[in-house]
């Protein structure tokens, strides 16, 4: 449920790094807490994000939730499939449910985020 090749944030985003590109989505925990996702608001390609910047919104039937950039970079691609099929975020949060790709300002930055074991320990401490 929490792949080892990803890095995680306390706001429940994940990032995977390949060369200088980071792919970002929300975690299994986030999609489960949100419930049925019905709307994803995506940023524009070209937008420059700092780590911690809000870059979009995910709405389930009952809740509105902001999503934040795990790392700094420029948005180079967004997952347009989520516009018509936001439920993909629930179905496959680490695969087809990715949200955006950024050209990383610093490919090393992601290493400062939690790894899978640390994130799971963090979740366990959240009393959920």
């Amino acid at each position: 449920m929490y792949p080892d090749n990803l890095r995680y944030t306390k706001d429940h985003e994940w990032v995977s790094v390949k060369d200088a590109t980071g792919t970002v989505g929300v975690t299994h925990f986030a999609q489960k807490e949100l419930g049925d996702v019905v709307f994803v608001e995506l940023p524009e390609v070209g937008k420059k994000l700092k780590a911690g910047d809000e870059f979009g919104t995910i709405e389930s039937v009952k809740a509105v939730s902001e999503v934040y950039a795990p790392v700094a970079g420029e948005v180079v691609e967004v997952n347009g499939a989520l516009v018509d099929h936001p439920e993909i975020v629930n179905e496959d949060p680490y695969g087809r449910g990715w949200i955006l790709k950024v050209r990383l300002d610093s490919p090393a930055e992601a290493a400062s985020l939690m790894d899978a074991a640390a994130y799971q320990a963090f979740l366990a401490g959240q009393k959920h």
């Binding site: 419930g35 049925d36 019905v38 709307f39 919104t57 039937v61 009952k62 509105v64």
Partner: protein
């Protein structure tokens, strides 16, 4: 689980969408024991109910129920309610959980000597079974001929051996029943219903699906769509406003407003642009403030972003477009016919 008016309640069991669709296609089971119950009894009970409510309770024979409201002198809502006539001198009134104490104080302060008002909220649990299969599930569990029970009628009966008031009422826009029983026996009734209902696709449903279902059917939620600042006329509930029944609290104000026309009206709308409208979002017409969204969500059966909003009367007509401000961005919406969802007519009984 969430806190709702002091009750610890599930938002969902498996998922709002799944539960919502179960009610539209098969059946759903709701523990709505949080709802309040007030009984008014005595020789002057009918006169007291008539004075407190805007619908005409004189039309109720024993076994009949009606949607109604407790109204203020200004014609606004103390609460919206269902009045069940147990006898001509006994009325059982289902009220909103969050209003139960306030309602009881209001009722108690307005009933004349000789009429007794009882807050029976703690004595009663309520389980709602809603959906096209509801009748089939209940049929074998009660001696009452529930096929013959029409909408807004009820019977004092037993369900699976548990004494219950079985009413063909609901809050989902679907056919179904609301079962009022002694609090201590609700768990047993729930378990029996789930056991018998499972082969019919009966699904336990939480507050989330209850809200999306009622919104799809444009049924009012007190605190969102109506409250003590909005009137019966503004809410468009003319079918429960019986100005010719005689004096009642708020009658003069409502008669005046009905004659003059309300300055604002509650409308149903659908989003034209992408975006989910939510309770409290501002409405704009040509960039100017024009009211607010009272309820809004993505509706799982119709698969649209729908809502209700108060708009100035000239804009409150079908087809009129306005903007809902979503996170600072005006997003186009269009006034549509109410309700969003109306269940298909069925050959089975109870769809009156």
């Amino acid at each position: 689980m969430v806190d709702f008016a002091g009750w610890d309640m599930p938002v969902q069991y498996h998922g709002v969408v799944e539960e919502h669709l179960a009610v539209r296609t098969h059946a759903g089971l709701f523990d709505v024991s949080h709802m309040g119950e007030i009984e008014i009894r005595g020789d002057g009970a009918l006169a007291a109910v008539q004075r407190l409510t805007c619908n005409d309770a004189a039309r109720l024979a024993p076994g009949l129920a009606q949607y109604s409201a407790f109204t203020t002198e200004q014609g606004t809502f103390v609460d919206d309610i269902i009045v069940y006539c147990l006898a001509r001198d006994r009325y059982f009134i289902c009220v909103n959980a969050s209003n139960a104490s306030k309602d009881f104080a209001w009722v108690a302060s307005h009933v004349p000597k000789g009429v007794t008002a009882l807050n029976r909220s703690d004595e009663f649990a309520q389980i709602a079974i809603q959906g096209p299969e509801a009748e089939a599930i209940l049929r074998g569990l009660t001696e009452t001929d529930i096929h013959a029970l029409k909408a807004f009628t009820f019977a004092e009966s037993r369900v699976a051996g548990v004494p219950a008031l079985v009413a063909r009422t609901g809050y989902t826009g679907e056919d179904g029943f609301e079962l009022y029983c002694e609090s201590g026996r609700a768990a047993e009734l729930w378990d029996t219903l789930m056991g018998v209902g499972a082969p019919f696709g009966l699904t336990p449903c939480g507050l989330g699906a209850r809200d999306t279902l009622r919104l799809e059917a444009c049924l009012m939620l007190y605190g969102n769509d109506i409250d003590d600042t909005t009137t019966v006329v503004e809410a468009g509930l003319n079918f429960i406003l019986k100005l010719d029944k005689g004096e009642f609290i708020g009658r003069d104000a409502l008669a005046r407003q009905k004659a003059a026309g309300a300055p604002r009206r509650l409308v149903a709308f659908e989003m034209v642009d992408r975006g989910v409208a939510r309770h409290g979002y501002p409405a704009q017409i040509d960039g100017a403030a024009a009211g607010h969204v009272t309820s809004g969500t993505f509706t799982p059966f119709l698969k649209k972003n729908l809502g209700m909003a108060y708009l100035p009367a000239p804009a409150a007509r079908e087809g009129h477009e306005f903007d809902v401000v979503i996170r600072g961005k005006p997003t186009r919406a269009r006034v549509v016919k109410t309700p969003h969802y109306k269940r298909p007519a069925r050959s089975a009984g109870g769809s009156a």
